[in-house]
Symmetry: C2
DNA sequence: ATGAAAGCGCTAACAA
DNA sequence: TTGTTAGCGCTTTCAT
């Protein structure tokens, strides 16, 4: 175990003051090329690196972004997390993870923990947070950006895909394909993504003078989706939907598996299935799911830009509500042409 | 934006010294019930919470664990990450994420960044790290635990599943089922997991007086796995393997999809397929993959125990090499009985 | 451009 | 049990 090297030791070896060393590592500080060289040499010889925590304490900037996530079971999140972390790393920030377990009371303590770490900003990717939580962080002077969720009438920035428009595109597709009995399997109804997708979907149907034939709730949850699917499809051919929009890809996989393996139905010949997210397995041959793509890259890019903007302009608190266009990806889980 | 509340302000309001306040938040410090009450009341009124960073600076313990990950595309990792973060959170630690991008030179700088944050320990879950990197952290006095990878002849602790034994179990299964032309699709050959799984598999075959009929390399990579699969199976029935062990689940999904959809073969009637990891999609009906389960819960538990042990006993540097038993999970991608 | 000095908010001896 | 004091390693005035 090697002892930590401090700026003071580097200063001594370089024959300069401790503050000179500090300046060398402070972008924009005034140091002569000569001192900079001396310091860098000494630092290299000693293996010196500035202590981020000490810097954070005095500067008030930790260069840490707190990330609150609830469930990584939806493969959209690991993807986003990876990109987010990379993007922040490139800008000299790092991600401190806070897992928000199910319990609601727990969430509140999570916020306290985050604040304890003096994070410069917070990204909330968890669906189940009360709006109060975000506001509390804002009140503490820590900017917050909601990722993949939104809230009406509040003062928190958010980045989402255009869920309403995405839902509408699905309605158009299914109507254009000539489907006549269209079902919807909803996600957890507390989620803004679920609400917006459904609202857009219904608006789209209306535009075609169609109406929803059946609706069940899957809650973004495998078991409940199974129940919902059976309730919707375990009936004679002329009574069940001939197409279904499922509020996210993971539920859509469950739906497809049940249709095919439990009910012996064919996708898309008997039933067209559409999902939402375009997580990687949607492109796997066994599913090849028609879906709405949430463009993780763009969403992350905007999230990073927004949080950094808030960090750099602490006074300017106007929230940004960013919606990323989400294209329809047509694969083979939907009929290929009007029947 | 609310100003930060310091322990000094709490002290004033409570009518005690600043160190009294500190003691109230230091487990095991001696404070009278009366002072504790006064302090807690004042703290609550002011909304005070100790500054973790300041505490870290003086105590030398940040209660931050650095986690190095390379690719979250393998769904074993998000699962592990979630459990790891939860387990550490319960013990008052938090996870700072470091994404190790592809470039090898990059890795080295990642280590510097980690060390800058004065992390108390490091978990490396990335497959592509040189042993030199881990050693450098150890040398800096920061304990390291390798997660899901191991290295021979070195001084770093690691937690893996029993990959050798897992591979052997697969060989036994396939031999018991009467398979006669058995293939293996390897992962990236630099990975210890790949090497151990293959070694165990070969040892198992040998025990049955069987020998490997075909071998290709998929590199834990979808495209290369596709090429490997075609090279192995795109030939007459009597020339191709009748069973294949694939070094991880994700490659196995690709193999199954190609067998079924490109080559028109049936699994398991024509070919039995076995994977490794038991990631969630392995249990999805479309794959229902026979596989070796890496028990993420146990692996994480041991990882946490090990890293905390090293943190709490800094002098006792004997590395631990922990292997978790990995059970064979038999599903329907393998023949159900001897033919 | 540089050094001296004053803290950032806290913990940990040390006395009392 | 308590208060006083001295830092942890750094950034940042303020002189020079």
């Amino acid at each position: 175990m090697v002892e930590r090297v401090t700026s003071l030791e580097v200063a001594k070896r370089a024959g300069v003051s401790q503050s000179a060393v500090s300046r060398v590592y402070t972008p924009g500080a005034s140091v002569s090329a000569k001192t900079a060289e001396k310091v860098k040499t000494a630092a290299a010889e000693l293996g010196y690196r500035p202590n981020v925590l000490a810097r954070a304490m005095v500067s008030g900037k930790s260069r840490i972004i707190g990330l609150v996530v609830a469930y990584l079971e939806n493969y959209f999140y690991p993807e986003a997390l990876e990109k987010l972390s990379n993007a922040l790393q490139e800008r000299g920030y790092h991600v401190l993870i806070f897992m928000a377990s199910q319990t609601a009371g727990n969430i509140s303590s999570v916020v306290d923990e985050i604040l304890d770490y003096q994070v410069d900003g917070i990204v909330m990717a968890s669906v189940a947070l009360s709006s109060e939580v975000g506001s509390r962080c804002q009140a503490a002077g820590v900017p917050v950006v909601l990722f993949n969720r939104s809230q009406d009438m509040d003062d928190i920035s958010s980045v989402t895909s255009d869920n309403f428009e995405g839902g509408r595109k699905v309605a158009h597709l299914l109507c254009d394909l000539g489907h006549e009995r269209i079902g919807y399997i909803a996600g957890w109804e507390g989620a803004s993504t679920q609400r917006d997708r459904e609202a857009g979907f219904l608006a789209g149907l209306r535009a075609h003078n169609e109406t929803l034939y059946a609706r069940e709730v899957g809650d973004f949850h495998a078991d409940r989706t199974k129940t919902a699917t059976l309730a919707m499809f375990d009936k004679p051919a002329n009574e069940r939907p001939d197409a279904v929009f499922v509020a996210n890809d993971h539920m859509a996989f469950v739906v497809m598996d049940i249709l095919r393996h439990d009910l012996g139905l064919r996708v898309p010949e008997d039933i067209s299935v559409v999902g939402y997210d375009d997580v990687p397995p949607a492109a796997w041959r066994s599913y090849d799911l028609t879906t709405v793509r949430q463009r993780a890259n763009l969403m992350v890019e905007q999230t990073v830009a927004t949080i950094l903007h808030h960090i750099e302009h602490p006074n300017q608190m106007t929230p940004k509500k960013i919606q990323i266009d989400s294209p329809l990806i047509i694969r083979s889980s939907t009929r290929q042409e009007r029947k």
